[in-house]
Subunit: 327 residues, 2 copies
Amino acid sequence: MAEKQRKGSLLSFRPDIKVLDATLRDGGLCNNFAFSDEFACALYAMNIAAGVDYMEMGYKASKALFDPEKLGKYKFCDEQDLRKIVGENRTEMKLSVMADVGRTDFKKDIVAKKESVIDMVRVACYINEIPAAIQMIEHCKKLGYETCANVMAVSKARDAEIADALDMLGRSPVDVIYLVDSYGSLYPEQVAKLTLQYLEAGEKYKKSIGVHAHNNQQLAFGNTIEAASWGASYLDATVNGMGRGAGNCSSELLLGFLKNPKFHIEPVLRFISEYMLPLKAQGVVWGYDVAYLLTGRLNMHPSSAIQFVREKREDYAAFHGELLERD
Amino acid sequence: MAEKQRKGSLLSFRPDIKVLDATLRDGGLCNNFAFSDEFACALYAMNIAAGVDYMEMGYKASKALFDPEKLGKYKFCDEQDLRKIVGENRTEMKLSVMADVGRTDFKKDIVAKKESVIDMVRVACYINEIPAAIQMIEHCKKLGYETCANVMAVSKARDAEIADALDMLGRSPVDVIYLVDSYGSLYPEQVAKLTLQYLEAGEKYKKSIGVHAHNNQQLAFGNTIEAASWGASYLDATVNGMGRGAGNCSSELLLGFLKNPKFHIEPVLRFISEYMLPLKAQGVVWGYDVAYLLTGRLNMHPSSAIQFVREKREDYAAFHGELLERD
């Protein structure tokens, strides 16, 4: 392999870089998607002002599998609910939704693009579900949407599986392939290698590459800019890092780093003061905790750490022992 | 410049890597060094159990300039105070103190090595104080100590100044030259470049290179392992990241990453539960806050952000405006 070069420099900007705000979606996992209309409207306006390229409105989850009485509307993203927030979305910013393989009635719930305010469907799957993901991608593509494939928990996959997955997705009509560090277990050196592997497939098949990081080891921002520096162009962030467990790459860190003058940090700062701090004060919990470091470091799903934090436990060494028994 | 290679791999370990615990010293800046004897004794025992190579006991500050009535003993590190905690320190772990150029009566307060439990004196200076630092280093070297030069706020220095400083320190008897990101403003790519520059001088003059990072942009751990991967061998950490403002690289993250079997994370986990969480509960404040991101990103001293946090302000956008006026 020829020596790879980083793309761009720290002072210049790459017009191919797109920022995707996933606050309602990944952040929704922290509060059962119970965001007020006021919150969602303000977030929408803020993202536009900040120069964000895509705003993810939530999940397209199956109402047969998930109870709309117990979960907020951003778990389902019904067209009429979205329009209450974004109207016809006659803006530069595009809207996305995420649909999990096996947890969505996509044939019923995803309508033709021309009837929807949604621009992009992001299909999330584990690596053994690639064929099901491709079926969904083909379906959404025919309906007129941009599509992403978010292959989750890639830190658990074997090299040969990743190569195979990239090849299968490369041959599919998907637009963007995402490197997803679901467990927050990857170090920047590993992110660099994986990004280069994803980019190689991306160049071969004309796909863009994206990155979605978690903050278990305080590396969500570091890993995101590492992937970006090698050429990843779709970058996920959430305001104040709000997202499952240790959370994600913070919008304020990412927009503070990117040099494209279209990005602005001030609207994010105002939004944090007005909306995120009150959310925290209400008791919604996310962000780095030693418990998340422990699952991340062991390349495990964060569910046990989420439980640990929810129970307000503080016995980290005992928790570590429990994890090692389970590993 | 020939293509540089990272040193070691993610699974192997480099015996040259030394971890320095700076909790009493950088953490002391959060609580005026008011650590109890019980805390210091437990930290000392924990560091030994965790395999830490150096424990920094605090500063050697001038009692003419700083009031021992108002500041805890770790600001001054009198020999008899240290011995209460470490006895004769007949262990594998070495002890260090930091002495700031212009804020220490080093000729009076630093006694001959054979009369001291201290092994290493770390001289901290700004880049325009290198000659004064070298004078102190020569003095301490003659007294029998290992020495470090911690050139602070290198993110503010010009390339030619850094080259000059490295050359001057290279010709001095100093043992270790530290890359110090006092403002938490450096990105990993910049840390990599600076580390390679420091290492070049280190190879020429037979000096080791160290790294001391701050967490303003949640990059303290990421920057520390970035520097380590290129060859920095002295790595500063503090338990739970306790340190001025946004704090430092967390011991639990660093020891969870390093593969040398001599390092153990469990003692750190226990110490966090038993000693760090109570410290936080008492109201001692450190760690990432959006305010620190803003000073870090603007390459400014964190003092205004520390003030912002102390006043429990939450108006980040207004604070950002104030910083931009001052910049």
